[in-house]
């Protein structure tokens, strides 16, 4: 206590300032508390936060286009689809090298599938064109090898291209491969592009470097022992078309100089890449193909979200899809409507049962409780299939109705493969989630209140409505939230008994995950569903108040 007499800060027993000492003790406590919840925190992060974040990213991620077409995408920036008919030769030329590399790596079809979600036909366009890229290159390869057979030899090429000073090019081409393959390609490849060649024959050096990296890292071969791809010959022909190349070559003294000079003087095929592509497939002359690539070239796109709300992204901007292709908004609305109906029917059916459970003598209540819980212990699929047996036209319910004469044999009720089936089956399946919270809340309402109300002159109805019901509202709230949120994401029951107008948005999400492999769209639909649920939760909180929700006593 003597510390307080001094003018300095209050000190603890060990002479440190009390504030610091206390802070340290508190921090240690916090850390210990954190360590205690660390496993749970880690688990939640791993199983909940990370998947949701990755879903959000997937719904806008579009890196595949630029990663697969690193040359053509920047080149397309110069193309104005409004005024120009087709992109320039430069674009086709870049497209050739991009597609050539991609097809060697078998990545061109992946891009084709991606773009086919937006414009039908691109899957096969990319598949067949990728396969034929080497045939374009062969035109040049044959001509060049005819001029000088030394170009057939891998070692000759290596001597010509290898040198010093090409670090920047090597790293740039490596980075492109790494983007395309999404894997590390940094190993030593025993090849360095020669700066002299890069200056005179830039396209050739780039194509050769691409090939060298792939040859060493993926094919595990040695650069000097292998013959380069056809794309390298095409690149050489392109470089030789440049009027500046001839004069530059006459001054060149490095390996293969004579062969290159002879080649510069020779006649090489005049084939342009625009012609070659149009020859391969006339769709390469279709503006829509190029517009799709331009529209979907940014690394992030709103396209999936637009698709998820029945809109589309085109070169003219955002527009709604034609009526005969609109689906998702309708499904979202239906999912919400039917979930509300299911929640409503769960309240209607569950309330009296919960009341019985809470007010019957213990013995009877226990038996009733088992009946409520029994479906809980049965497999979801079994329960749903059981409903199929009951609801179908030749099923138990229709048979009984026909036998009793309520329904004509020829006009049996259609109880499943429509929304009725989904509502009936899902109400049954989700009923326990309504009954249990209701029961636990009703259990805490003292029966004396009702008796008191009646003794003060209330009728049965008034006593219930004015005294009992308000106290059970928190249970209804809890049950409704549970049932509604479970219902909105339901998948298997609508799939089995829903038919056509009883399916939910989740069924479409499942289709895009497992069948069409359009995970971006599935992620966008899932994100919208998540946001919808959160928005509804927020509304609920504002109107009813989440503090009024009770899951138990």
């Amino acid at each position: 206590m003597s510390d307080t007499t001094g003018s300095g800060p209050m000190l603890a027993a060990d002479g440190r300032p009390l504030k610091e000492s206390l802070g340290r003790a508190l921090r240690r406590q916090k850390l210990r508390a954190l360590a205690l919840i660390a496993p749970l925190l880690f688990f939640v992060l791993l199983t909940f936060v990370i998947p949701i974040v990755s879903m959000l990213i997937r719904s806008v991620d579009n890196e595949i286009v630029e990663n697969t077409l690193p040359g053509a995408v920047p080149a397309l920036a110069a193309w104005d689809s409004a005024t120009q008919d087709l992109p320039s030769e430069d674009v086709y030329q870049n497209m050739f090298f991009d597609l050539f590399n991609a097809s060697e790596a078998r990545r061109h079809t992946r891009l084709g599938s991606r773009l086919n979600y937006e414009t039908t036909g691109l899957a096969s366009l990319f598949r067949t064109s990728g396969r034929n890229m080497d045939s374009i290159g062969e035109v040049f390869q044959d001509a060049i090898e005819d001029v000088d057979p030394r170009f057939e030899d891998g070692a000759f090429w290596y001597a010509m291209m290898n040198g010093t000073g090409g670090d920047a090019m090597l790293e740039m081409r490596r980075a492109r491969w790494e983007n395309l393959m999404d894997q590390d390609m940094s190993a030593d490849i025993g090849f360095m592009p020669s700066q002299a060649i890069i200056e005179i024959l830039p396209t050739t050096a780039a194509a050769y470097t691409d090939w060298a990296i792939w040859t060493v890292i993926d094919d595990e071969d040695v650069v000097s022992e292998e013959d380069p791809w056809e794309s390298v010959y095409a690149a050489l022909a392109i470089d030789l078309r440049n009027p500046a190349t001839g004069p530059a070559l006459t001054a060149y003294q490095g390996p293969g100089a004579d062969a290159l000079q002879a080649l510069a003087a020779a006649d090489l095929p005049e084939l342009t890449f625009t012609e070659a592509f149009l020859d391969l497939d006339e769709d390469w002359g279709d503006k829509e193909v190029w517009e799709t690539i331009v529209v979907y070239s940014p690394n992030y796109t709103a396209g999936y979200f637009l698709n998820a709300v029945d809109a589309q992204l085109t070169s003219e901007g955002v527009s709604m899809r034609p009526d005969n292709q609109q689906l998702y908004i309708q499904l979202f609305i239906r999912t919400l409507q039917m979930s509300l109906i299911i929640t409503g029917s769960c309240i209607l059916l569950g309330y009296p049962i919960a009341w019985l459970l809470a007010n019957l003598p213990m013995r009877t209540a226990n038996v009733l409780m088992i009946l409520v819980l029994l479906p809980f212990w049965t497999s979801l699929l079994v329960r749903t299939s059981a409903w199929k047996v009951l609801l179908q036209q030749q099923g138990v319910i229709n048979e009984i109705l026909v036998w009793l004469g309520f329904v004509d044999d020829a006009n049996r009720l259609i109880l499943m493969n429509n929304s009725t089936g989904t509502i009936i089956a899902m109400t049954h399946i989700l009923l326990p989630f309504m009954i249990l919270p209701l029961y636990s809340v009703m259990k805490t309402i003292p029966p004396t209140y009702l008796r008191a109300a009646k003794s003060l002159g209330a009728t049965n109805w008034t006593a219930f409505w004015r005294v009992y019901f308000p106290q059970s509202v928190p249970g209804i709230g809890a049950g409704s939230i549970l049932v509604f949120i479970l219902a909105i994401g339901y998948y298997i029951t609508p799939e089995i008994v829903g038919g056509t107008d009883g399916v939910f948005i989740s069924n479409r999400i499942a289709y895009h995950i497992s069948s069409s492999l359009n995970w971006g769209l599935a992620a966008a639909l899932g994100t919208i569903l998540l946001v919808l649920v959160m928005a509804l939760y927020w509304c609920y909180d504002r109107i009813v108040g989440i503090d009024n929700v009770k899951l138990g006593g």
Binding site: T109, N116, L122, N324, L327, T500, R508
Partner: protein, 371 residues
């Protein structure tokens, strides 16, 4: 066979030490993925059991995930850990997996056995080698079955695909698959489009609308199925008069369960089912997978499978070897979709077309269904 099995098992146990040395370059565990049910049983009987008998020490694990194989393989690929060695998928999925770079490209003549007469594998399988990754096993067809007891009196049993669209002569419910593939082709065929023009017409907006308009005429009488087992069940329960499903399912319902169901083979759509090897297996596992596939797709093995299920072997050379059903003892040839009597009017699933148009037409089809 009953006696040899335990003997082989004991041999397998005693030999496992030596074989693991001999097979040092091949993995001894293998996970095969298939469809479950009667189809997987036929594969176990025809391929897997004989293979294990020949290669004691090899353990085969089955995973019944073929229906979700495409999505699961993609997820495995993204996670960087492929746990499957050989996967059974339909040809359309194989094409998709190949496009996505998830299935290994194969050279048929290099990894598949030639026919007994020396014909190369690529000639023996012929056109059925769809895409670059697919190894065909069987030809199955999607065709119609109908309740024989629900055919109206005085009317011929349905024998024409257009009877499906004829509600006046053949009133009653129909079961159709909940996807556009097959249904739109049949619809166009019965709306006056010539068979050879069907895909040209379907490639246009108007053609797609025409097909949906035709389907609209029977829309209220259709139950849409999504699992292959649905239609046989709906037929057995009398819920539908006629319905499309895989011919093997109908065979089982008719011959094995004795249901009053008739086959209508007209305009059946041939499709293929076969193996793919996932991309990215280790060398040991790849060697084992290739060794298994070489055995499991040879002429005799493919013919053997037809003893257990009524799907046609994908090899030309297997057809003459198709014999009797293993337990029912009936001749299987006449139950094959490829039998000349059944194959008078057929379609072959157009893989290229559907790889392009599947997403587009499916979106329109689902929007039409939801209206």
């Amino acid at each position: 066979m009953k006696f040899t099995k335990p003997i082989l098992t004991t041999m397998a146990l005693s030999l496992s030490a030596t074989t693991s040395l001999a097979d040092g370059h091949m993995a001894s565990d293998m996970t095969l993925v298939s469809w479950g049910g009667a189809y997987q049983s036929s594969q176990i009987n025809a391929y897997a059991d004989p293979y294990v008998a020949m290669n004691p020490g090899v353990t085969i694990t089955w995973d019944e995930s073929s229906a979700e194989a495409v999505a699961k393989l993609r997820a495995m690929n993204e996670a960087g850990s492929i746990t499957w060695d050989v996967v059974d998928v339909v040809a359309a999925d194989a094409l998709r997996l190949c496009d996505e770079g998830l299935a290994m490209e194969i050279d048929a003549d290099e990894i598949l056995a030639p026919a007994p007469d020396g014909t190369s594998a690529s000639d023996d399988f012929g056109d059925l080698l769809v895409g670059d990754c697919f190894i065909p096993q069987i030809v199955y067809s999607t065709t119609f079955g109908y309740r024989t007891d629900m055919v109206p009196a005085g009317v011929e049993a349905p024998n024409d695909i257009c009877d499906v669209f004829d509600l006046e002569t053949y009133p009653g419910m129909r079961a159709l698959e909940q996807r556009p593939i097959n249904n739109v082709e049949w619809a166009l065929l019965c709306d006056g489009v010539a068979k050879e023009d069907v895909y040209d017409v379907l490639a246009t907006e108007e053609g797609q609308e025409q097909a949906l308009a035709k389907l609209d005429t029977i829309r209220d009488s259709v139950i849409w199925w999504s699992a292959g087992a649905d239609t046989p069940q709906l037929l057995a329960d009398g819920e539908v008069f006629m319905g499309s499903t895989y011919n093997g399912r109908l065979f089982a319902a008719i011959e094995e369960q004795g249901q009053p169901i008739g086959m209508m083979w007209d305009a059946q759509v041939f499709d293929l089912d076969g193996w793919i090897i996932p991309e990215g297996l280790s060398d040991e596992r790849l060697a084992r997978a290739k060794d298994f596939i070489y055995f499991a797709t040879d002429t005799q093995r493919l013919a053997d499978q037809a003893k257990y299920i009524s799907y046609g072997p994908a090899r030309l050379s297997s057809a003459p070897l198709v014999g009797q059903h293993a337990t029912l003892g009936i001749e299987m040839a006449q139950h094959m979709p490829t039998d000349p009597a059944n194959a008078a009017n057929t379609f072959l699933y157009n893989y290229e077309f559907w790889a392009d148009y599947r997403d587009d037409i499916d979106a329109k089809f689902q929007a039409w269904l939801a209206q």
